[in-house]
């Protein structure tokens, strides 16, 4: 018996982890989404430690939907979990109030400080954000007078345009940072960045800040470029995506009130990847791009269809330009810089 203690412990611990995973699954942890593989019990037990799900807060798991380790609210108005605090989410509104983690959903709603139409509730616990919410309301009103002329026409700029630019995004933006030839501007990019976690992500291209939010608080920029979407294609529908995007845009506007915000289209994958993969499918990507275009008009940000620079005649990333069908080869990134420079706008 004693000689085989290792093996016995393995069995015992696996059973315990499996039981724990089973318990968490019963609470709704890691409901599989749209073709994502279902987590096995021991794996669930292990992943839960990483994601900060413990028996005492497992009750909140019911109804939470996971996208690659990031928590997504399944419907508007219910719980989401960001960075250890529970927040309520509304569609299209400014940032919401953080609330203590242990409370239940219905009570949340009533105490909730943000109402449906996005206007700030002056009686709620303010932390500065509510007042800025009011400010952004006014900005929205003034911009809406220019609705008829949105988006403004593209002009070409020279390299100095990027002097006061900040670039935020996922692994392609990392590629832009290192391979496009853009030497000015700041890059806050990280492989696997996604819109739900964006502001909290620690950029790999700039280790002097611990999050994108901190990078945006550090100084004022004239232009903000955002590239994301490919890592989120598997989670939810275009509406979820744009809802989360609006939240991020709202926060960015508060931190960078004078900046022009450019959002990239979700990039296409190669025909082979699109055909062979239910998630990374150019049809789904195009749906999101339509939603993004719409959102860009409403939010008064500039939509950049970067796919025009890379696509072949079928609207796919050409196979010879990419090894994995998702990322363009490093020697093509100068095209990105060129496209950005030929698609700038001037706002008075």
């Amino acid at each position: 018996m004693k000689k085989n203690i290792t093996f016995i412990l393995i069995i015992v611990i696996s059973l315990l982890l499996g039981a724990y995973g089973f318990y968490l699954k019963a609470k709704g942890y890691r409901e599989p989404m749209e073709g994502a593989r279902e987590g096995r019990y021991v794996a669930l037990g292990l992943m839960s430690l990483r994601e900060g799900v413990f028996p005492w807060n497992a009750d909140e798991q019911d109804g939470m939907v996971y996208a690659e380790g990031v928590i997504l609210p399944p419907t508007e108005g219910t719980l989401a979990k960001e960075n250890g605090t529970v927040v309520t989410v509304t569609a299209g509104g400014p940032a919401t109030e953080p609330t203590p983690a242990a409370e239940e959903a219905p009570e949340e709603r009533e105490e909730g400080s943000v109402s449906e139409n996005g206007a700030a509730d002056p009686e709620s616990e303010g932390d500065g954000l509510t007042e800025e919410g009011a400010v952004s309301e006014n900005e929205a009103e003034s911009v809406s007078e220019n609705e008829a002329s949105w988006p403004p026409p593209f002009v070409t700029a020279d390299e100095s345009y990027f002097d006061d630019a900040v670039f935020i995004g996922d692994s392609r933006m990392v590629g832009v940072a290192y391979f496009s030839g853009i030497t000015n501007g700041h890059f806050l990019a990280k492989t696997s960045m996604n819109i739900f976690w964006m502001m909290n992500t620690a950029p790999e291209t700039d280790t002097t800040v611990s999050s994108v939010r901190e990078g945006l608080m550090r100084q004022q920029y004239g232009k903000v470029y955002i590239l994301t979407g490919i890592n989120e294609v598997g989670s939810g529908d275009p509406q979820y995506f744009t809802d989360a995007y609006r939240k991020v845009l709202a926060e960015i506007r508060e931190l960078q009130p004078d900046a022009i915000i450019y959002i990239h289209a979700v990039t296409h994958v190669s025909a082979a990847v699109s055909a062979g993969n239910p998630v990374f499918d150019n049809g789904r990507i195009d749906e999101r791009n339509e939603a993004l275009k719409q959102m860009a008009e409403e939010e008064k940000v500039i939509f950049i269809d970067i796919n025009e620079a890379f696509d072949d005649e079928n609207g796919c990333l050409p196979a010879e330009n990419s090894w994995d069908g998702i990322h363009p080869s490093a020697n093509l990134y100068p095209l990105w810089k060129e496209y950005l420079l030929t698609h700038t706008v001037e706002l008075e």
Binding site: F7, L46, Y178, W323, A330, N331, P334
Partner: protein
């Protein structure tokens, strides 16, 4: 004292379980393997059963022997090499036709998916029938035993290539003592850790370079990449071999070692005595020695070495880069046999740069089947070579990747060194040892769950 298991019951369970495991991955090819087992069993039985030692009897034996060997090789050829063969011939025919101005007829190019492990189990079956034909031992009467020998799941997919005498006794009756079982579990855990915690992680660097496109990596990064691949393939395969040995021990078998710290070798000759030992052994026993080995003069010896490396290269993959890889070793081994070996013995310090170049460069050839991309990679490794492509290197890329992968490289290098391993085996005893083993095990499961799994590099062999 452990439980003494009756061979038949144990083999039935092991055989059935192995077929089940294999069938889960290859629902159709499992029948191919079963058919092969039956054919080999039947013919080896007939070959051995032929008591008639007259000329007629001898001829009959030889005919059956040739038949079964042809069958085994044909199965291997069809499922693994047919496409490469027909495609290459067609390319030749096409070029010839262009030159001559005719539209030559082309062969049909059938492309079949490799059955997993076919290279391994075919070689095991061949070793068995060849030994039976040359009367090295009597054939296995019990078809369950023979089937278990071939299909045993610890070694079915990724070796080691077991010869029948190594497991014959245990197939009939085996015993598992508690400490053997424990040793097996621990060996398995080490193998799992080698694969998941070292190989899979350091392999990510190679994947990142693939994604960038080799035209745009700096020279230091190219060398880092080649070394990353070298470590990946070693710990991958070594990990699998350890897991096989560990599982074998847990089941009562003593499977042979496949690796003996190959990266501390001082020559290519020594390398191949320490890398994939059972394959080298197979080629020596069943190809080199039957051809005459080194006993028939220099010319014959060189021819024999050439053939061994031709087939060793091809065994690893059905493509030109594997042939080139085999030929590289042929040239080096020949050179070492003729003069280089003596040179290295006299000046042992030369071994260091020699192997430091040989290991990553030979694995780079092994890694890239696309000859064009291989060429691009070599121009990155050796920037003085002429290059003709659009390059876009990001300065300081190797520093960035170096920082990210520093820990991986340090661990990989440490675990290649025998003194480190000896020290560890002394340390990993008792309670702290058990805790370490558990950490390695569940750490590996954690990473596997996270999805950082990549298929075994020797997978389709």
């Amino acid at each position: 004292m452990g439980k003494r298991w009756n061979g038949t019951a144990a083999n039935a369970v092991l055989f059935a379980g192995s077929l089940f495991f294999y069938g889960s991955g290859e629902p159709y090819y499992v029948f191919l393997m079963l058919a092969s087992i039956l054919v080999n069993y039947y013919f080896s039985y007939r070959i051995a059963g032929e008591k008639n030692m007259s000329l007629v009897g001898k001829r009959r034996r030889k005919r059956w022997f040739r038949l079964v060997v042809a069958f085994d090789l044909c199965m291997l050829f069809i499922f693994k090499y047919a496409f490469f063969f027909s495609h290459s011939i067609n390319q030749l025919l096409f070029a010839l036709g262009q030159w001559v101005g005719l539209d030559l007829p082309l062969l049909p190019e059938i492309s079949l998916v490799n059955p997993v492990g076919i290279s391994f189990y075919t070689f095991q079956m061949l070793s068995y029938v060849v030994d039976v034909y040359y009367r090295k031992y009597a054939p296995e009467r019990n078809i369950l035993c023979m089937g278990t020998y071939i299909a045993m799941f610890p070694q079915l997919i990724a070796g080691p290539i077991v010869v029948y005498p190594e497991v014959k006794q245990q197939l009939h009756e085996r015993q598992v003592r508690a400490e053997d079982f424990d040793r097996g579990v621990k060996t398995f855990i080490l193998g799992l850790g080698a694969k998941v915690l070292i190989a899979n992680r350091i392999g990510l660097l190679w994947t990142e370079l693939e994604r960038l496109g080799y035209e745009s990596i700096s020279t230091p990064l190219a060398w880092m990449g080649s070394w990353a691949y070298s470590f990946q393939i070693y710990f991958d395969f070594y990990g699998y071999s350890l897991m096989a040995v560990g599982l074998g021990r847990m089941l009562g078998f003593k499977l042979p070692d496949n690796f003996r710290d190959p990266y501390v070798s001082r020559s290519a000759t020594e390398f191949w005595r320490r890398w994939h030992i059972t394959l080298g052994r197979w080629f020596k026993e069943y190809l080199y020695i039957p051809l005459g080995g080194s006993r028939k003069g220099l010319a014959r010896t060189l021819r024999n070495i050439f053939l061994v490396w031709l087939f060793t290269g091809l065994w690893h993959g059905a493509d030109w880069n594997f042939l080139i890889w085999g030929m590289i070793f042929f040239v080096l081994l020949m050179a070492e046999r003729l003069f280089l070996g003596k040179c290295l013995k006299k000046l042992p310090f030369l071994s260091v740069p020699y192997m430091l170049l040989l290991i990553p460069l030979s694995w780079t050839v092994f890694a890239l089947s696309d000859i064009k991309r291989l060429g691009v990679y070599f121009t990155r490794l050796f920037p003085f070579l002429p290059a003709d492509y659009n390059s876009n290197v990001s300065s300081g890329d190797w520093l960035r990747y170096g920082k990210t992968y520093l820990l991986c490289f340090v661990c990989a290098i440490l675990f290649c060194i025998p003194p480190v391993k000896r020290l560890l085996s002394k340390v990993m005893k008792g309670v702290p040892g058990t805790i370490l083993y558990l950490l390695i095990f569940f750490g590996s499961i954690y990473f596997l769950a996270q999805g950082l799994d990549n298929p075994f590099l020797y997978y389709r062999f």
